[in-house]
């Protein structure tokens, strides 16, 4: 398991995205899967920084862990902000997503794109840490 720590600030979001691209590349993910993982990582990192740390005025890190097997790449974000399960909130459904843009709710798309873009997304609270877990299957033909 590799690990890299980023401060939980907006400046880190670019860097995390870049780091995720490198991991995706070394795992041999195709272009589309790499993009989708990067997007998911961006959305979750943004939530952690803006709502986990900045809004309540806390300081902390995002630790990015990754592990590869022959079948899959797993990336885990660990942070020490208050417990927050991205999946607890209801995601936009088919009806919401076909509504005219004039009538759309503004929020909720980030988590939707996260869940939609990776092969498996899960959340757990372990001790004082949030763990957001992204899993991508390798060798998928898209």
């Amino acid at each position: 398991m590799n690990s890299k720590t980023f401060p939980g600030t907006v400046e880190s979001i670019d860097l995390i995205r870049h780091y995720i691209s490198e991991i995706a590349q070394s795992a041999g993910l195709d272009k589309k899967s790499s993009y989708n993982l990067k997007l998911a990582a961006d959305e979750i990192a943004t939530n952690i920084v803006l709502y986990g740390y900045e809004e309540p005025g806390l300081e902390g890190n995002i630790e990015v862990l990754d592990e590869q097997t022959e079948e899959a790449l797993t990336v885990i974000f660990e942070d020490t902000s208050a417990p927050f399960d991205p999946l607890a909130r209801e995601l936009p459904d088919e009806e919401d997503l076909t509504k005219p843009l004039e009538e759309r709710q503004i929020g909720g798309l980030g988590i939707f794109l996260t869940v939609k873009g990776v092969d498996d997304f899960s959340y757990e609270r372990v001790g004082e840490k949030n763990r957001n877990i992204f899993k991508m299957l390798k060798g998928r033909v898209s």
Binding site: D14, D42, L101
Partner: protein, 110 residues
């Protein structure tokens, strides 16, 4: 993230370059909303945009509402395959016209 605004005939052309994410979407939105006040023919050239997050989608949504309120039309030019997928998954794609090249976008609005 850079935004460049120009006019071709009576069309407002907004060229974006870089990543449109939670850090840059605010600037992108302000620049585009300001540039399209009172305009009803708008092209956004995204051919130099590699990454667009949900924050970028929200900016497009706000811009769409402003232009649509005047019965205007927005053409997106040079949208990458990956961003097109995101727009499709979120049902955004149906509300914009997409063209590969700027000249096709201009034709679309002429």
């Amino acid at each position: 993230m850079k935004v460049n605004i120009k006019t071709i005939k009576d069309i407002t052309v907004i060229e974006a370059e870089g990543n449109i994410d939670s850090r840059t979407a605010g600037d992108f939105e302000k620049a585009t909303v300001d540039a399209t006040q009172g305009e009803d023919k708008v092209i956004i050239d995204l051919s130099q945009v590699e990454f667009l997050s949900s924050a970028g989608l929200r900016s497009l949504l706000m811009l769409y509402r402003q232009v649509k309120a005047r019965n205007g039309k927005i053409v997106l030019v040079g949208v990458s395959e990956e961003i097109q997928d995101v727009m499709e998954n979120t049902g955004f794609i149906n509300f914009f016209t997409l063209t590969e090249l700027l000249e096709d976008g201009v034709k679309e609005l002429s």
